[in-house]
């Protein structure tokens, strides 16, 4: 058991009265049962998408484009078709026709056009993976290549403002006269920060096994949302939703990249239509995941802060340039956190996009907040240095009483408490603020701090059904997902409290479209959205059947509409502290200590929650020091497209890293008193490390990742 269940020391009491839905009494919630799917996963017997048992399966191996833009002029699959073990080759000339071209990412094998290097242009179905792989190499392709453009820069003349940015936020906002206030400011920070292209890289590759038994299509998928896979596949193929079943009980990580269906889902289905009655197995290779499963856009962020000498902000300007694919837009909401973090009478945020001949960027853990808070929180550190202020004190002085842009009251803002609690635990008061003061055995030592934040989302549309089985166990059914997030365990705890029973009297069923509709495990909204549906269903069961329902009693309900959604600004907050060692000779950066303090409402399961927080922080460390997808502009693809070239943090990169949280209950958020925790752990982590590197070395690195070369110049 972790030592973290004590949480922080702040005795936050729920405010008087209960939220709209009434708070659950916590009995199972707040305790730390071990991960319920843990033993099966530790033995390796929990079946991931590729691992379900299939009678005589066949294997699919894709052929990918070797140009980044142009047309296929000839495709010759004869040699592949006659290779041993090959069942069929599908190309744009032979593939079944799709019904909807609305989502160009899913318009697979429907035309001769090539939009990016690595696009699916054919696929081989064969009796064995080896035969499929070898035959894929035999498909001959000729192209008419067009010049491609994959260079992101602020100097581009064709940068454009999207209609909105991800999650429906406005592209630009402005309060007051930010430019004039910045020009007149006594203290200024004006710097450009960059974050590279980054890939989600879950350990389990994106997988779809498609079985077409007309008129039924069954997909064993690795997804964060079985229901959205079903809806999207139905629409794209022109099938009825009830013809399709999607099954996904265990998911080997996603971090956003399995939040929406990608081209491989459709490719597997097209192949399945060609091989009725046979399960068609497709798992992307690790290399293919670097062009076919989404990624985080690189960002170029100019951040300007104007302040009085005492650190009071007078102007905040955040201008973001990032990319989208030319064939389908995705606009990361990078400047959105800047709209709420600190008080200032003048503020401007902007997003501009370059549309390039690259695969489509998509969600990666805390899209928007992760790159945006890197820039913003390093800029705040620069301002603290410019004002001669402690970076925590600077943040405290700029704490907004209300949400700056909307003027709404905060649902539950405890940023300052997180900063102070972290400072106490991290012995921040013993820190000499001057940079480059400590050197031990050739290593420069420094520490840094940054804030984190993430919105509290509850998505509408989930439904839970509860039935009291004959053996006295409640069967709780909802098509939710567990991608390592702990859903199997935490939803069981919530259901137990909602039903007033012990957790072993609950049998949870998730990960299947045969179950009632569930919204995506994304935006840290899963447990809140699904939990609300379960609580509503339990209350409905009580309402109809009383407090002692008879065996066979059942009820179902949807996630209720949230009355506070538009009245309050509801966000989680946190503070990240990092201590690094930088080798004075080589510029190597090693993390020696890291602490996150979070305010996220009630923590449903402390043991599992800590894993979520430290997991996010570890990914943030990886972002700070290691991760960078490098585009070869000559060919338009990621050249370091595997784990040898794209380094993610390994065990040896992580040292003393821990997370704690304030002991609180957010009675305005939902009946559990919780907010989501899947993403906030990564937010601000890279900034805390970058600020620690500055403190250690006196060098301000504004371009991630912080590799030795940047410290040696």
């Amino acid at each position: 058991m972790s030592a973290n269940s004590d949480g922080g020391r702040r005795p936050a009491k729920p405010s008087a009265g209960t939220g709209v839905n009434g708070l659950l009494e916590p009995h199972a919630m707040g305790t730390s049962p071990a991960r319920m799917d843990g033993a099966a996963k530790i033995m390796g017997t929990a079946p991931y998408a590729f691992e379900h048992r299939f009678e005589r399966p066949v294997y699919l191996h894709p052929v990918q484009s070797t140009i980044a833009r142009g047309r296929i002029t000839r495709i010759d699959s004869r040699a592949a078709e006659s290779a041993e073990g090959v069942i069929a080759v599908v190309t744009h000339e032979s593939a079944p026709r799709l019904a909807s071209a609305e989502n160009k990412e899913l318009w697979v094998l429907q035309s001769d056009e090539v939009h990016f290097r690595g696009q699916f242009i054919a696929a081989v179905i064969a009796e064995s993976p080896e035969a499929a792989h070898q035959a894929a190499d035999l498909v001959g392709v000729e192209y008419e290549a067009a010049p491609h453009d994959v260079s992101l820069s602020v100097a581009r003349k064709d940068l454009y403002a999207p209609k909105t940015v991800n999650a429906g936020y406005p592209t630009d906002t402005e309060e007051g006269d930010a430019e004039a206030a910045f020009a007149a400011a006594a203290v200024k920070v004006d710097a450009t920060y960059t974050t590279p292209m980054e890939h989600n890289s879950p350990m389990e590759p994106h997988t779809t096994v498609a079985l077409w038994q007309p008129p039924k299509l069954t997909l064993f998928d690795s997804t964060q949302s079985v229901h959205s896979v079903r809806t999207t596949v139905a629409k794209t193929l022109g099938l009825q939703v009830d013809q399709i079943r999607v099954i996904s009980p265990y998911v080997g990580g996603g971090f956003g990249s399995k939040g929406e269906p990608h081209a491989h889902n459709i490719l597997a289905v097209l192949a399945a239509l060609r091989a009725p009655g046979r399960a068609v197995k497709l798992a992307l290779t690790r290399q293919q995941m670097f062009c076919l499963a989404g990624y985080r856009t690189p960002t170029i962020q100019r951040f300007r802060l104007g302040a009085a000498r005492d650190g009071q902000l007078t102007s905040i300007i955040h201008d973001v340039v990032e990319l989208t694919s030319r064939f389908r837009e995705f606009a990361e909401q990078t400047a959105v956190p800047t709209r709420l973090m600190y008080a200032s009478p003048n503020r401007r945020t902007r997003h501009r996009l370059a549309a390039l001949d690259l695969p489509k960027p998509s969600w990666m853990r805390a899209p928007g907040e992760t790159p945006g808070m890197f820039a913003g929180e390093v800029a705040m550190d620069e301002l603290a240095a410019a004002c001669g202020l402690d970076p925590i004190e600077l943040r405290v002085r700029n704490e907004p009483a209300r949400d700056p842009e909307s003027g709404k009251p905060w649902g539950n803002r405890h940023l300052v408490e997180c900063l102070r609690e972290g400072a106490r635990r991290f012995s921040w008061d013993q820190r000499d603020p001057k940079p480059r003061q400590r050197i031990e055995a050739g290593w420069l030592l420094g520490s840094g701090v940054a804030s984190s934040t993430y919105p509290r989302y509850i998505l509408p549309g989930s439904r839970a059904a509860i039935r009291l089985g004959g053996e006295g166990r409640y069967v709780v059914r909802i098509g939710a997902a567990d991608l390592g997030t702990g859903t199997w365990t935490t939803l069981t705890q919530i259901a137990a409290d909602a039903l007033g029973c012990p957790i072993d009297a609950v049998k949870l069923e998730i990960g299947d479209t045969e179950l009632p509709n569930a919204t995506v495990a994304g935006g840290s909204s899963g447990i809140s959205s699904w939990g609300c549906a379960i609580v509503a269903a339990a209350r409905e069961l009580r309402r109809v059947h009383g407090s002692r329902p008879p065996p066979g009693a059942e009820a179902s309900a949807e996630t209720p509409k949230d009355a506070d959604d538009n009245r309050l600004a509801q966000h989680s907050f946190g503070a990240q502290f990092a201590e690094v060692r930088v080798n004075a000779e080589t510029g190597e950066v090693r993390l020696s200590r890291m602490l996150g303090v979070f305010s996220a409402g009630r923590i449903i399961n402390p043991r599992l929650a800590r894993s979520q927080f430290i997991g996010g922080m570890t990914m943030g460390l990886s972002m700070a020091l290691h991760e960078e997808s490098v585009i070869d502009e000559r060919f338009g693809h990621v050249i370091n497209h595997d784990f040898a070239g794209y380094h993610i943090a390994v065990n040896a990169d992580v040292a003393n890293l821990d997370a704690v949280w304030l002991d609180e209950v957010d009675d305005r958020s939902n009946p559990m008193g919780s907010r989501g925790i899947g993403e906030i752990g990564i937010v601000g982590a890279a900034a805390a490390i970058a600020n620690a590197v500055y403190h250690a070395t006196g060098k301000r690195v504004r371009d991630l990742p912080i590799t030795p070369d940047k410290l040696l110049v």
Partner: protein, 172 residues
């Protein structure tokens, strides 16, 4: 071309006729239905496919099945006997040393073998000197477990789990 081989997998003798191109990982997963070893990269870069082969940890995606004829293989599934978790596995559960679980069987096999390697005196990159026996400090555990990637970021819990299992005198 197919060749007949025999493998002893988790205590069970298995015979199969296998394509000479088939990796040990695919032989286990696609031919024998043993899916405890996971495919994360197929290039020996992630460690998810780690098993114990004749007692040593190997990445099965880099082994051709035909070259392993007669080998004894233990997967994480086989480490648990009669449904009882191996002490390293039990410690993983207690310390929540996993999230999505996809790297976990490989981590467990790697940990069990790693403890044995250290006991046998094998040095690592961070071991002082090459002759003295290696004390499994946290730094040593981290170094020796760095061939097993975990994108969920459970490393600190993995180290804690291994430390606890060692405290109970765990041997492979």
């Amino acid at each position: 071309m197919k060749t007949s081989i025999t493998l002893r997998v988790d205590g069970e003798q298995r015979s199969l006729a296998i394509d000479t191109r088939t990796t040990l990982l695919d032989a286990l997963r696609e031919h024998l239905g043993v899916t405890s070893a996971k495919k994360g990269c197929d290039h020996g870069q992630c460690g998810a496919c780690t098993v114990l082969l004749d007692g040593r940890r190997v990445t099965t995606c880099l082994c051709l099945a035909v070259a392993c004829d007669g080998a004894t293989i233990t997967t994480a599934q086989g480490l648990a006997t009669g449904g009882t978790l191996h002490p390293v596995q039990q410690a993983f559960l207690e310390h929540d040393a996993l999230q999505c679980g996809y790297c976990t069987p490989g981590q467990v096999c790697s940990a069990v073998a790693m403890i044995e390697e250290a006991r046998a005196g094998d040095p690592s990159f961070v071991t002082e000197g090459l002759t003295a026996p290696a004390e499994l400090s946290d730094e040593e555990i981290r170094e020796r477990m760095s061939g097993n990637l975990c994108r969920c970021g459970a490393y600190v819990n993995i180290v804690a789990a291994i430390r606890e299992a060692m405290g109970q005198g765990v041997r492979s």
